[in-house]
Subunit: 202 residues, 3 copies
């Protein structure tokens, strides 16, 4: 799952940079930022040297995603919205959320700390990529994306505090994240804004 | 003071996100970023796991500020510029500056390092919130805001190197920060730009 | 070389902030971010308290660059594109790349980790400055700038793994970075975008 996620995240980030006509260096940086910035921020928050700087295999997967984005963008106009990409991205979101939950638990943070690190691990890379593209992170106003990681992280913490083993909690986290994400894509879920809530209350 | 600051900072950040029509997740993230990103950056710089990830009570105060922003924005158009908010924000600026000064001193950094960490602790959250909203941080071109923390941190270092105890230095830091901030709000202080200076010299 | 680099980087960052009509605090922050954010990020990634917070002499050089930008901008419209600045900036790029290579090697990261830390140390400050100015980092779509650090870092790693001593590898890194950068400025090098590559293949 982590493998699929790294390739898919790098592909999505690079495809965005290609549409902005970034050069080959920029395409590579945005792709790698999308794939690794969430995990690197997680590692900084728990005081570890980021795993991506130490593991050559992780980086190779990121570079594979960058290469795929460049190759596919000649054939498809938006390889990042292709159904296969959306499915792989959902799998990656779940994998990154679960890794975040395990690392956060090991670091001894609070329940909120677990959910925060899960969300940063899963959705932080996309937020950094959007900032590099000079945009507000789309997760803050559109789609139902980071919220899937919030739900997965909360589920992890709840079943863990009910006495489930670490591997059961991890499986629950991954399942909740990927199922809610696929539901969000299928049924076009969005969170309300305050403006929507006010309209509804009238 | 820290309590008032966390609620006020989260309220101000969330109110900005509400005006940009961010969804409920985005409103929460910008509010919590405004309240906690400065302190978390401080902790990363001195190699600690951020306190906000460990302390449930701190997060509850941030979420209270987010909830207040959502509730009040139905009644007021800009709860973040209400006099009570401006006063609470000035109190928070002073509290965060003082915490930064104490942590920086404990980490054994230089005089400049103290002032830098004080400023990041007090004004860094607002800068991160503005970047998430796809703006230049307002503290870089408008108002007299982060400069109050620079003055407070400098005062802390000066009285400390003159032999004052830690608690005296902390009281001086908090007082200088809050008094200069309230003066800046009352008298509409601004720092000059180079363009203004050139006009004045003609 | 490090001295020249700190002054030149701070000057370039401050000159950009002056053109955006930032106030004196903003000019100082963008200048210091340009000079120190790359090295500080490097230190965070390898779990050290940033050197710039501990060393008063480094900060003095940064503040000298800020002061030069303010003084010179009264005389020159763009002191950051003056040939002397471009040359000093290339020297700084090489110095920061080499420091990054040495620190990364000491931290025991992978070959990719070395190149990543070299690039972040050399070009990360400029990227942070651009984000503070509400722009996409120019290194992602324009010029041939960060790529010089990528080449320097790769050369460092290659000659190191061929058995060269640390000081030889450092000299090779600095030479490759500064020579490719000066060639890029002289011959106006740019990396292709995917759009350019597609045009060329037709």
């Amino acid at each position: 799952m982590n493998t699929i996620g790294l390739v898919a995240f790098a592909l999505v980030g690079s495809a965005k940079a290609i549409r902005e006509e970034f050069d080959l260096f920029g395409i590579t940086v945005v792709g790698l930022a999308m794939a690794f910035a969430g995990g690197a921020t997680r590692d900084l928050l728990v005081n570890r040297v980021p795993l991506a700087l130490q593991s050559p295999s992780e980086i190779s997967l990121g570079l594979l995603g960058v290469g795929l984005a460049i190759t596919l963008s000649v054939v498809l106009s938006s390889p990042d919205t292709h159904p296969v990409t959306l499915l792989s991205d959902a799998v990656g979101l779940a994998a990154f959320a679960t890794t975040g939950a395990i690392v956060a638990t090991g670091a001894g943070v609070s329940a909120f700390g677990v959910v925060a690190i899960v969300t940063i691990n899963a959705a932080g890379g996309g937020a950094v990529a959007d900032i590099l593209l000079d945009r507000s992170p789309f997760i803050l106003f559109d789609d139902f994306y980071a919220s899937c990681a919030v739900l997965g992280g909360s589920a992890y913490w709840i079943v863990g505090s009910l006495g489930a083993t670490g591997s059961t909690a991890a499986a629950v986290c991954a399942t909740v994240t990927v199922v809610t994400r696929l539901a969000a894509v299928t049924y076009d879920w969005n969170l309300p804004t305050v403006q929507t809530l006010e309209l509804l209350s009238k």
